[in-house]
Amino acid sequence: MNWNKIKVLLFKEIKGVVRDRKTFMMMVIFPLVFLPVLIGGITYFQMKTMQGNMEEIVPVYIEGREYATGLVGYLKSSGDYKIVDQPEKDIAPALQDGEIALYLKIEPAFHQKIIAGNSGEIKLFYNNTNTLSDSSSKRILQLIAGYTAQIVEQRLKGLQLSPYFIEPVKLELVNTATEQEKSGRFLGMMIPYFVIISIFIGAMNIGINITSGEKEKETLSTLLVTQLTRSEIVVGKLLTLIILSTFSAILNIVGIVLAYQFVFSSVGSGMELVIDLSANTLFKLGGLFVLLAFIVSGIIILAGSFARNIKEGNSYVMPIYMVVILIGVLSMSGAFQPAGFIYYLPIVNIIFLLQDIFMLQANLLHLWITIITSLVFGGLISYLSVKLFQREEIIFRT
């Protein structure tokens, strides 16, 4: 293995990527400009809309308001609701198109029942496809619960009982998670998904281009007649992919973190991203990025070397990409609790270990298992790629 020649090949491949505007845009401009604008913009407007809904005066039609003057006064005094007249349309379309956000139907005997110590009945109609109707339904439930608590307190007083009579146990929830842990949970859900996707996309475009693309453009023979051995060519291309896809993943992560920093600070959500940037964490994260890039690059080089042209190469890689997206989505949903065996599965183990690191739950044994299995699997894929590259019926397949 002549590393100087491999280095020359590596620089040539990188130069090719940098000079290809489309690939360069996808690799650098997309994560640093489009991704933050996209994620930041969408999240910003979502949060702003939610805030707006919380602050908006909600139009409510109350049928039978004369039977519950106390409750109506209570709602009005909150300042969040405007009691409107009966809409001209039926209730359902009025809720759907937003003419009213809520419709309360109070039974005629409501007041009498309350006085008598019974339950007065109210029906709340809302439409969860209308954002304001959906969010204000939750708010009004809280408000009515507050009104109910007042009535309960009065009843208990009338019976000369303490409010604690019906609350024998007072439970207080105390969240001991630090800001860093809260951020870690958030990032642990988001980042692994974006890491796997960005490494895969980064490696896929370039990898197919420098393998089956070279066959299609008939530049591969030019390389094969040089003093480079086929193993050196595969190693050079593999290193190119590892470096560029890791770089792509880092840019994506920077873009995402910047986007959320902007969102959280600008909408005043009270959340902030506290990230552990210690050398130890960065070393572990960087190492896992490289291991993931190693495996993904190996798979793409293998598929790209086998394919006759770029189109065929993409068709081989696409199904693998879908599986990778599935793993990413599983990790992001938090619906899957990783069991011990997960750490023996290449790619999957890196995703869940990244999550563990962000959530400050990384386990040294899992780390070692992940490193060893990834090196073995990546090495095996690379070995197969070298073997494939030595088969002329594959290399000269047209």
């Binding site: 002549n2 100087n4 020649k5 020359v8 090949l9 040539k12 130069k15 090719g16 000079r19 290809d20 453009k217 008939e218 530049t219 023979s221 030019t222 390389l223 094969l224 007649v225 040089t226 003093q227 480079l228 051995t229 002329e392 019926e393 000269f396």
Partner: protein
Amino acid sequence: MESLVKVENLSKVFKDQGKGEVQALVNLNFELRAGEIFGLLGPNGAGKTTALRIISTLMQPTSGDVFIAQLNLRDNARRAKEYLGFLTAEMNLYDYFTVRELLFFFGQVNGLTHTYITDRISWLVELLDLEKYIDRRVDNFSTGMKQKVSIARALLPDPPIIIFDEPINGLDLMASRVVTNLIRELKNEGKSIIISTHNMNLAENLCDRIGILFEGELRGVGTIEELARNTGQNTLEDIFFKMVGEFSELE
């Protein structure tokens, strides 16, 4: 005369999913002597490119041997490459490079020193009239210009043996003239050259000796005079069809 390339009983079988086993080359025997131009003449699909790919180490023979400067390719392919410059119509260039960058890249992967590459580039761009284009990207070049750059790429390590597979295929008259003149000039400098072609004129004008290849078999090898004597024909075209026809009748 010393032979720089020696092909002995060379056979190649391809496995095709639809056709089964395809015999591309059958017991080929020929040699390239020092300082000569040897032409492999045959129609498309005769096996010329396959033969040249094996000689240039791109493919392995099914049986038989190829010696480059006495080195058997089976054991010494990497060393043998040092003696070879190979150029085919299927060898395109990385078009995002300038001519200088491209030649530097191929020089470096062939283990040449910076000074040597710089000197060779100066000589080659002058020889091929590429001075004005040296720092321009290849993707904007015409086919003829690209062929010139490809030739510069093949000649960069100054190999004693140069293999041209269909060297004027797809070139216009002007570019063809440049290439044929260049092949003559290389011969005058003492290079030994193998060309493959289906172009009778090119073979007749350039080659010292010719091998007629048809359906993977070498039907005859020699100078045009020798081939004419053996077949009783006068022109290369008649010689070719006589040899191909005679064999077809026997089959």
